[in-house]
């Protein structure tokens, strides 16, 4: 009963505090909103970027050439063995005829290519193109394939694979660093906002203490206030971002249709299934811890 009454008192006072100190409340919510809005934008950019890289990775192929005179069955056998690797997503076969056709088209004039007649100078150029979804393991995969019976040569575009891998790492690093900086900045900003809010109420708190209120009694409403402001400040950018996400990806997709036409964006629910709990937790955490710590420090100072 008494607990219940205290809870109601704290809730009521907390809400009244928010209303009475509109200025301060707006500032806190605004700061929180701004920080988590930036956080959300970054989260979008990075999660989509990594998703796209993942798709890009799976389009980087390894070309496998076979020993002279390998039979079709043996070639199939090699293909099956390659498919045993978990990171391999697809294996495509290109016969020597197809290779020669492609070559002719690319390098030879019509006259010249006709001069070859039905001869195929690239008789032994049948190949597999192997796609994997993890470029980081590509060199390992190459070694594995080179060790297979019947494989003459493995060509892999090291440069592209390494680039993708490097970009992946770089994006991961930069994203990590920026998000950490952002969280630091957010914590600092919200901390000072709360500290200023409490410093405005120093007088009020000191009066309460002089009348005999315990720290515990004084703290209640302020913490309720902090938590509510934190949650509000986290919800606003979430709601805003939720309803604009689809527009954003449509717009960006539209702008760069030539480049990104094949790449898909993460869908709204996937992105927000992680973003919502993270944002709310950050809001709640900063609101609670921020007001608790600042209050305690301030309460200790008074008298």
């Amino acid at each position: 009963m008494r607990r219940c009454k205290t809870l109601f008192y704290n809730l009521g006072q907390g809400i009244r505090n928010i209303y009475r100190n509109r200025m301060f409340s707006l500032a806190s919510i605004g700061t929180m909103t701004a920080c988590l809005f930036l956080f959300g934008i970054f989260y979008f950019v990075l999660s989509n970027f990594q998703y796209m890289l993942k798709s890009a990775e799976s389009t980087v192929g390894i070309t496998v050439f076979f020993d002279d005179g390998l039979s079709d069955d043996e070639i199939k056998e090699v293909g099956n063995e390659i498919l045993l690797r978990p990171e391999v997503t697809k294996v495509e076969f290109l016969s020597s005829e197809e290779t020669w056709e492609q070559y002719k088209e690319k390098y030879l004039t019509d006259d010249l290519s006709e001069s070859f007649g039905d001869d195929n100078p690239l008789e032994n150029s049948a190949s597999y193109t192997v796609y994997s979804d993890d470029v980081a393991k590509q060199s390992e995969l190459v070694t594995y394939i080179e060790g297979l019976d019947g494989v003459r040569q493995v060509n892999n575009s090291d440069a592209i694979a390494e680039s993708l891998n490097g970009i992946n790492l770089a994006v991961g690093y930069v994203s990590g660093v920026i998000i950490i900086i952002l969280l630091f900045v957010a914590t600092f900003l919200i901390g000072t906002t709360i500290a200023m809010g409490i410093s405005i109420r120093k007088q009020e708190i000191s009066i309460m203490k002089l009348i005999g209120a315990t720290d515990y009694f004084i703290r209640g409403p302020y913490i309720v206030e902090g938590v509510l402001l934190g949650l509000l400040g986290a919800s606003i950018p979430l709601i805003f971002l939720y309803f604009t996400y689809n527009k954003m990806i449509l717009y960006i997709g539209d702008k760069f249709t030539s480049v990104f036409s094949k790449v898909e964006f993460l869908d709204v629910d996937t992105v927000f299934s992680a973003l919502i709990p993270i944002s709310l937790l950050i809001g709640l955490g900063i609101g609670f811890i921020g007001s608790y710590v600042t209050l305690n420090r301030e309460l200790r100072k008074i008298n």
Binding site: R2, K5, Y9, R20, N21, Q203, E204, I207, M208, K209, L210, I211, G212, A213, T214, D215, F217, N303
Partner: protein, 247 residues
Amino acid sequence: MSGKYDLNKDLKKDVDAPVILFQGVSKAYKDDIQAVSNINLEIRKGEFVFIVGNSGSGKSTLIKLMLREIKPTEGKIFVAGKELGRLRRMGIAKYRRTLGIVFQDFRLLNDRSVYENVAFAQRVIEAPSVEISRQVPKVLSLVGLTEKFKAFPKELSGGEQQRVALARALVNNPVILLADEPTGNLDPKNSWEIMRLLEEANRRGTTIVVVTHNKEIVDVMQKRVITMNKGVLVSDNKKGGYLHEKM
């Protein structure tokens, strides 16, 4: 409530120790500002004491010391036999709840209404809601502010604010009532009404300490008068009037 700090109980019992006891108390705000010097003072349960003296003579400092808003730089203060300097945070809070205080500068909560300001003192002692809604209007009508219960401190005249502060001090039927200049902003008629309220509380057993500049009131009421001058307790009359200035 732990027994150790329960001044409340001790104060309500009829213990033999004086309610307030100053032993060689001095307070220096900075090295060069000695606000009170070597005060020895004993106030017994149920007494009504005036503290008078020039501006800056250390009267408010005495009140602040009793309230443990500040600590003495020398000497000890006992309330109901317990030394204030030994109280911890929780003990201080509990001790203050047994007091009623009127501050010279009122110290009302600016963002709460008159009603809430007075009710706050009751909430602090965890009074049940029923009692709050019975007690607060009663005490507001005693100080003549029934109509102003919704107003915020900024919307009150000086004297009205002072009476809110007094209502807050009275609402809990405190064991000790410390009032720093409670009639400074009040007209003679209101001042006398306030004094009547204080006397009534005194009759119900509250120990009362009033700092005042109101010569007429002190002269007429013939209570114990303590006179301060430049931080020194210069006289302590069991029944007396406002001392005439010596200079």
